[in-house]
Amino acid sequence: MSTATAPVQAGDPGYIDISESHRPSFLRLVGVEIRKMTDTKAGLWLLIVIGAVTVIINAAFLIWGPDDLTFNDFLQFSGMPQGILLPVLAVLLVTQEWGQRTGLVTFSLVPHRGRVLVAKLAAAIVFVLAAFAVAVLIATLLTPISGASDGWDGVSVGWLSRSILALVIGAVWGYAFGAALLNSAFAIVSYFAVPMVVSIVTAIWTSAQEKLLWFDLSTSSTRLFESDSLSGEEWAQIGTGVLLWVALPLAIGVWRILRAEIK
């Protein structure tokens, strides 16, 4: 056993030919990340709950709610549970690699961690789109049954896009907290508690309400679910909220994950 100093080159014994080695495609990585969310009891049940609650809440409003429910109403009913649960899903997508230490395998197979992170983010967005598709399907089925004369009023591409945006912001928000904290319980609790405190302050401290809306993303982003379009100021408030609650923790999380030792 010698410690030679010359680098190992093609033709040397022990040289590995990697010219035929192809890195996993991005789509494949996204597929794997989606699969990771569905192959454990926790992940599978979360998905089932998201689906079931969406159906149940709409059915309940259809049966016991007011008579003239519109498409918009139904979509908003779906948005409530989905807005709460999809971020949890996004948190788990990131943190499970740390909590269960599967990162050892994941990042050995894909050593460029940024690719895994982007694939996870893409998977989270795929789940959002799927959930939204379910919500649209339910609303489309229930609107005629509800029988409101103006059932389809206010439905526009702009509004549907804003609803998706709201759900995506929520998911990325959860993802960012998961990445920054790398611990499922801690990230989920923080995700709910921190904005709640801000919203409570906003609600109580009425004199500062206008100013606090610039920081209170959970309040400002609910405007996205409403069918009338937003003012420039409202967009700007969502923007500052996203910077503070999504972009900042995301930057911290990415920085942390790219640098951290995977143990």
Binding site: M1, G14, I16, S21, T40, R101, E261, I262, K263
Partner: protein, 301 residues
């Protein structure tokens, strides 16, 4: 082949791995031996890019690990058999790796068969696995991409004696077909059984490396005799100094010299062999600094 050069990792003031260099050759099993906390796992994580080295480099088959496009197909890695999602089935753990590498699902069945995990076991969730089963699963995962290099951290941990024998056969066969195997262990006997080459590490530094025979060569002779005192005196008359070790004696002389003296004096030898204490002593010296128990060295050695 794995080539480690001047690899160093510091955590603040603590140097976990200090300037280590060695080569793990193709066609051979290299045992990376050292007590817990010696820096084995840190070194192995640096080899596959999970921990950033402060200094030095590692090449695997001539490449930086990060530069290998689909590393799972070239380097099989098992760093911790317990690091699996407890809620996944064994089969699913393998299927995820196969999917990541772009391998067909049939490969999963081949690997399960190779490590003797039955269909029923593969359907169970990992949280119901014994450590030995997790090691088998981890080895299956490492071998999945049919790599030419294996990096295994404590793979024999938790295996029963039959399991260790099985793994020895598996890794020997793998090396005989030209593969490179680097495996770590904190158990000397375990590694001695499997490894062709040894790299001993303690407190982050390599203290010895070579084949087991090379490392044993200078360790002298161990003997026991019925008339031990007479033999020691006789040896001293011949200029051979012997020191008591355990229930016998150790000397730097060759076994044949001791045998000759015993024959001349008609002394009954009970045991005469190359001392294997050399490796063990060295290993225990390393261990002594990090372990809680104190051990008693052979008398006033």
């Amino acid at each position: 082949m794995i080539k480690v050069e001047n690899l160093t990792k510091k955590y603040g003031d603590f140097t976990a791995v200090n300037d280590i260099s060695f080569v793990s050759q193709p066609g051979r099993v290299t045992g990376f031996l050292g007590p817990n906390g010696a820096g084995k796992s840190t070194s192995m994580r640096m080899m596959v890019g999970l921990t950033k080295a402060d200094r030095g480099s590692v090449t695997i088959g001539g490449h930086n690990y990060m530069d290998i496009p689909n590393p799972g197909q070239h380097v099989g890695v098992l760093l911790d058999a317990s690091a699996q999602h407890a809620g996944r089935t064994g089969r699913e753990v393998l299927a995820l790796s196969a999917a990541t590498m772009g391998l067909p699902a049939s490969r999963v069945d081949e690997m399960l068969h190779l490590v003797s995990l039955t269909d029923n076991e593969a359907k169970r969730r990992v949280k119901n696995y014994s450590l030995g089963m997790r090691q088998r699963l981890g080895i299956a995962n490492a071998l999945m991409g049919d790599p030419s290099v294996l990096i295994l951290d404590e793979p024999a941990n938790g295996l029963d004696p039959a399991g260790i024998r099985w793994m020895r056969g598996l890794l020997k066969g793998y090396a005989d077909r030209g593969g490179t195997v680097l495996l770590s262990s904190h158990l000397l006997h375990e590694v001695q059984m499997i490894a062709d080459d040894l790299v001993m590490i303690g407190r982050g530094e390599i203290v010895a490396q070579g084949t087991p025979e090379e490392l044993l060569r200078d360790s002298g002779t161990f003997f026991r005799a019925l008339e031990a005192d007479q033999l020691v005196t006789a040896l001293a008359e011949n200029g051979i100094e012997a020191t008591p070790v355990a229930d016998g004696f150790r000397t730097d002389a060759e076994p044949v010299q001791v045998g000759k003296v015993a024959a001349e004096r008609q002394i009954t030898l009970v045991e005469l062999k190359l001392a294997d204490g050399g490796l063990e002593d060295l290993f225990l010296e390393l261990t002594a600094e990090t372990q809680r128990e104190t051990y008693t060295e052979g008398a006033d050695k």
